[in-house]
Amino acid sequence: MPLIIKDEYPETLFREDGKRLDGRDNNELRPIKMEVGIIKNADGSAYLEWGNNKIFAAVYGPREVHPHHLAKPDKGILRVFYRMATFSVFDRKRPAPGRREKEISMIVADCLEPVLFLELYPGTSFEVFIEVMDADGGTRCASITVAALALADAGIPMKSLVSAIAVGKIDGKKVIDLSGIEDKAGEADLPIAITWYNEEISLLQFDGDMDLNEMNEFLDLAKEFLKSIHNIQLDTLKSKYIKLQEKTSKNKKDEDKKGDK
């Protein structure tokens, strides 16, 4: 529970012992927890806790396109709707979607589209709904990560997963996975996403200032930590099926026992 009453920036983003304000090292991720299949009504769903960020994603599709004129005769369409809850930020957000939410919806859709085989689904739509319940910096990266999981959970054919992370510069030092306060008070923020089938960048935004050398270093740094995000995603998907397998094999054993009697 934060004790902040006014939205003020701290003078320095590092503690006296050289760690960041939340106690992390420069190259340390916040704790990440992922789950799939938690919304029973959805075709696919995922939940992500990334530090204080808490995000739900659900996929519906392939289904009929509303409104009809958006349908494409030669391929399916991917629509992403990113929304934040009114209580997810410091000052209550207005309930209606704002410009920021619409822009992020668009860039998330552009980021995910390359991994889908939309040409296999002409005339239909895939809708991905992302609901941010609690936000603390890096929600667009977290949203891409959780949306990719939800698509995979829905059983939609994909070339690979997509993972995302932000790298940046605070108080002149390179760090990964910026928190809300570091994002606002720091000098540079570079959210970056990778499509693993070709290991290429599918989201890149940047605000701040850096020289060319720094940019190269940032990209290499991001790649290293994107791999750890990817591993957590893969483990989360596998664990769902391991649980299912355990459940069915247990049921089978119970039945066998009954049969013996």
């Binding site: 029973k40 009504n41 609901e131 319940m133 609690d134």
Partner: protein, 275 residues
């Protein structure tokens, strides 16, 4: 994916009704039995109070935010508490995105009235300076999964959120608003604990806590809010009609079942521990 439809087949409807006639439910509950409530509080770090409530597979996350604003002219020393509800498109293929529709407005209004008329929120405690500054509380409900009876889940969710509240305490000093560093907690602002109970009706059969298939086939519903000894608000919805005797019976049932549920949920355990 669960089988979610707007329309239920005739055969399924007949099955639900013939079971209800035998006082049985498709999910093996009795007529006056709730599905299981699962409650977590204070889960949103950005909110000044929050709750994650599941009733069966229906799940609602609610958060509390506050603003400091001017009081209404006719209530110069009272704060304001408003309830909003959003049926998120993640929750069901039946929900569409866009501005709030009738169903979400009804949910917010029924929960709001249950709380407002029960003397639940101590609005006088939400006054910073008479005529000038009061707290305006926003209790915002988000439906995460829809499996029927949003109103009862929403009622518990909103109440738990208010109980878990920890709002920074402000006083009006010479240089405007100053924060004391203390908090207004649920202990200070919540008085009564109103619960809202919803009944479905098919033909002449009445039952508590309709699940989604029951909600889809029922003729109508009635939601009754009550504190320990008083009925505080009633909402009848849908095309069903209720006899006067039935309503009297439901009034009694509501006080009886509500009292048991209040003890079982023990919502005061979710009071904020903050000083």
């Amino acid at each position: 994916m669960m089988d979610v439809k707007r329309i239920i087949s005739k055969i399924e409807k007949d099955y639900i009704i013939s079971n209800l006639r035998k006082e049985e439910r498709i999910d093996n509950r009795g007529l006056w039995e709730y599905r299981e409530f699962r409650i977590k509080s204070d889960i949103i770090s950005s909110a000044e109070g929050s709750a994650d409530v599941s009733l069966g597979d229906t799940r609602i996350i609610t958060g509390l935010k506050y603003e400091v604003g001017e009081p209404f002219p006719d209530l110069p020393n009272e704060g304001v508490c408003t309830v909003m509800a959003e049926l998120l498109p993640i929750a069901s293929p039946l929900f569409e995105r866009g501005p709030p529709d009738e169903q979400s407005i009804e949910l917010a209004r029924v929960v709001d009235r249950g709380i407002r008329h029960a003397d639940c929120v101590q609005t006088k405690k939400l006054c910073i300076k008479e005529n000038e500054a009061v707290y305006i509380l926003f209790v915002d409900m988000y439906v995460i999964n829809y499996d029927g009876n949003l109103i009862d889940a929403g009622g518990v969710s909103a109440l738990t959120t208010l109980i878990s509240a920890h709002i920074p305490e402000g006083i009006m000093g010479d240089n405007g608003l100053e924060w004391t560093g203390k908090y207004l907690t649920g202990e200070i602002i919540v008085n009564e604990l109103p619960l809202v109970l919803t009944y479905g009706k098919i033909d002449d059969i009445i039952f508590l806590d309709p699940s989604l298939p029951e909600e889809l086939v029922c003729d109508g519903k009635i939601s009754i809010s009550a504190t320990e000894d008083k009925i505080t608000s009633i909402q009848k919805s849908g095309a069903a009609t209720f006899s006067i005797d039935e309503i009297k019976m439901l009034g009694n049932k509501t006080l009886e079942i509500g009292s048991k549920l209040r003890k079982k949920l023990n919502l005061l355990q979710y009071l904020s521990k903050i000083e």
